[in-house]
C-alpha cells in the first residue's frame, strides 16, 4: 500500500475512535490501538459497524502475560566468575521488573475484508478481578478464542455463555501459559498395572534451560530507534 493511503487510513481510525482509545502505535505497517476494558465493547461495535472501518472479522484473540517482560535468565556482566556452563536461573528472581502496566492483556486482531485493512486492539485486564467483557456478541468467532484465553491464562470473560476449558486435560488445574507455570508442567500421567488405572503424579523431570534467554542491545536497532524518535 502506498504511504498516502496508509496515512489516510490512520487518520480515519483516529478520527472515529479517538475518544475511546488510550493510545495508538504504528509499526511495521501495523496499527495498534489500546483500549480500557470499560470501553472495549463500544469500541469493538464501532469498529465492526461503521463505514470506513468495517472490521467484520475477528481473526485472532489471544492472552498475553507480561509479568517477565524484559527479564533475562543470564546476566552476562558477572558471567566470567560464574563460568559459562549452566549459569542459568530458570526461576523468576526479584530482578528489576521493566513492566509497569497490568500483567495480563488480551490482544485482538481484526480484519476488514471490505477495505483490506488490519487492526490490532490491545486491552489490559484489570488486575484485581481479571475480568474483561466478552466480544462474542460482536464476533461469533470469539467464542473459542476466549475459552482458550481463559484456559491458558485464567482471564475471565464477562457474558460469555460457555466459558469452559478448551485445550487442557479434563480436570486440569492451573493456567499453563502464565509465565510462572513451569514449562514441564506439574503432573505426569502413567498407567499403574497393580492398581489397574491411570494415575497422576508430580512431574519427575528436572526443569532445565538449554539456551539462556539474553537481551543484547544491537547497535543497528538502537540507531533505528533514535531515528524514529527524532
Amino acid at each position: 500500500m502506498d504511504p498516502e493511503a496508509i496515512e489516510q487510513w490512520k487518520n480515519t481510525v483516529h478520527e472515529r475512535v479517538n475518544d475511546l482509545i488510550v493510545c495508538s502505535d504504528f509499526k511495521f505497517g501495523e496499527l495498534t490501538v489500546e483500549v480500557e476494558s470499560k470501553q472495549l465493547i463500544e469500541l469493538c461495535r464501532k469498529l465492526r459497524d461503521e463505514d470506513g472501518l468495517h472490521f467484520e472479522q475477528l481473526i485472532d484473540l489471544c492472552g498475553v502475560d507480561y509479568s517477565t517482560y524484559g527479564q533475562m535468565e543470564w546476566e552476562t556482566d558477572d558471567a566470567s566468575g560464574g563460568g559459562f556452563s549452566r549459569g542459568v536461573e530458570p526461576e523468576i528472581s526479584d530482578r528489576d521488573v521493566n513492566w509497569q502496566k497490568p500483567r495480563f492483556a488480551v490482544v485482538y486482531h481484526l480484519l476488514s475484508i471490505t477495505n483490506g485493512h488490519r487492526l490490532r486492539v490491545r486491552c489490559f485486564v484489570p488486575e484485581k478481578t481479571l475480568i474483561i467483557p466478552s466480544v462474542t456478541s460482536i464476533w461469533a468467532s470469539a467464542n473459542w478464542y476466549e475459552r482458550e484465553a481463559f484456559d491458558l491464562f485464567g482471564i475471565r470473560f464477562e457474558n460469555h455463555d460457555d466459558l469452559r476449558r478448551l485445550l487442557t486435560d479434563y480436570g486440569f488445574s492451573g493456567h499453563p501459559f502464565r509465565k510462572d507455570f513451569p514449562l514441564i508442567g506439574q503432573v505426569e500421567l502413567r498407567y499403574d498395572a497393580t492398581e489397574k488405572r491411570c494415575i497422576y503424579e508430580p512431574v519427575s523431570i528436572e526443569p532445565r534451560v538449554l539456551v539462556p534467554r539474553v537481551i543484547r542491545h544491537d547497535a543497528r536497532y538502537v540507531e533505528n530507534k533514535k531515528e524514529e524518535q527524532s
Partner: protein, 417 residues
Amino acid sequence: MSEIRNYTMNFGPVHPAAHGVLRLVLELDGEVVQRADPHIGLLHRATEKLAESKPYNQSIGYMDRLDYVSMMCNEHSYVLAIEKLLGITVPKRAKYIRVLFSEVTRILNHLLWLGAHGLDIGAMTVFLYCFRDREPLMDAYEAVSGARMHATYFRPGGVYRDLPESMPKYESSQWRTQKSADELNQGRDGSLLDFLWEFTESFPSHIDDYETLLTDNRIWKQRTVGIGVVSPERAFQLGFSGPMLRGSGVIWDLRKNQPYEVYSELDFDIPIGKNGDCYDRYLVRVEEMRQSTRIIRQCIQWLRENSGPVIAKDFKVAPPSRKEMKDDMEALIHHFKLFTEGFCVPEGEAYAAVEHPKGEFGIYLISDGANKPYRVKIRAPGFAHLASMDELIRGHMLADVVAMIGTMDIVFGEIDR
C-alpha cells in the same frame, strides 16, 4: 409407549473419520443432530510455550508439526514474522523458491484433503490416486531439504539452500531389480526444476481424472450438495478464511488482496463458490490445485532464468556458508553465536499471515529484545472452522458430520497446537 429421549453419542477421539483426535459429543434425535460439542486439546503440545523457551531459529521445526500436511506454509508465516521484526530483506530468488514450495505444499494439502474427504464419504479410489500424486511432491521436499515432511527449509532471511541440480535416484538392490529402479528413476535425470516441470505437465490431466470420478458423480453430489451451507455474513462472523470463505462466494485471498513475497508478479486466478456448501468448497479446492500448478510453472520459468543468493547475507541472522566458516575467523564466530545463542530480535510486535492451504495462518510475535520470543500466538485457520461445527451441523443427519469434518479440512496439529 416408552418415553423417547435424545441420544448422546461420542464420536471419536479414535474414529478414523475424525481426522485425528477429535472428540465430538453429539446429541441426536433419531439420526438428526441436535447439538454438537467438539472437545479438542487431545493433541495439545503447548507449541507456543515451547517456542517461547527456545531461540527463534530452533522453533522452525515446531512449525512443521502444526499443520503436518502443509509444512512449509506454516514455516513461511513464522519466518515472515521474524523478518518483519528484524527488518531484513529476502533475496528475490529465495522469494520465488518460497512461493514455489508454498504452492507445492498447497497441492500436497489439497490432495490429502481430497483423498481423505472422498474416502470418508464413500469414494475409495480417489484416495489411492491422490496419494500417487503426492509422491513426487514429497520427493521434491526431500530433494531440497532432506526430509519428506518436516522440512525446516524456510529460514529467517531466505531458505536453507539453493535448489539441487540433480534429483536423488533409486538404486537396484537385493529387493529392487535394476529394471524397476530404472522405471522409478524416470524423470529424475534433470534438476529438481525439471522434475517439478514434468509433474506440472501430467498433473492437470490427473485432476481431470479426479473430476470425472467425483464432480458429476451422483453419490458424491448427494453427499455434498446443500450440506453445511454458510452464508458470507455468517462466514465473516465465524472467522472463516481460505476455501471455507471463498466457497461462500467471498473474493478474498491474501495472495491477491495483501500480497506477500512475489505473488503480485504472478498470474493466477482465485476461484470462488456460489452456494457455500460442501460441494462448492470441493470445487474451489480442485480449482486451486490447477491454479497452484500455474504458479509453480511460472516460478520454475523464473528460477531457471535467474540465479542469485537464496539467503540474506546478514551473518547476524543467517549463518555463513560452511566453506567460509572454515577459513574465516569472523564467520566462525558468527556461526558459533548463531547456533549457541541465536539472534536477538529488536523489541516490538508483529503479525504475519499467509494464505495457507486451509485459510489464513498467522503468527503473532511479541519480542522484548531477547533471543527467544516473548509470546508466540499461532492463528490456525482450522481452529475457527472447527469452532463453528455446532452451528453448521445442527439439523443435519449423523452421516453429514463426517462430510462436515471433511470439508473443513481439519488437522489437529494446528487446532490443538
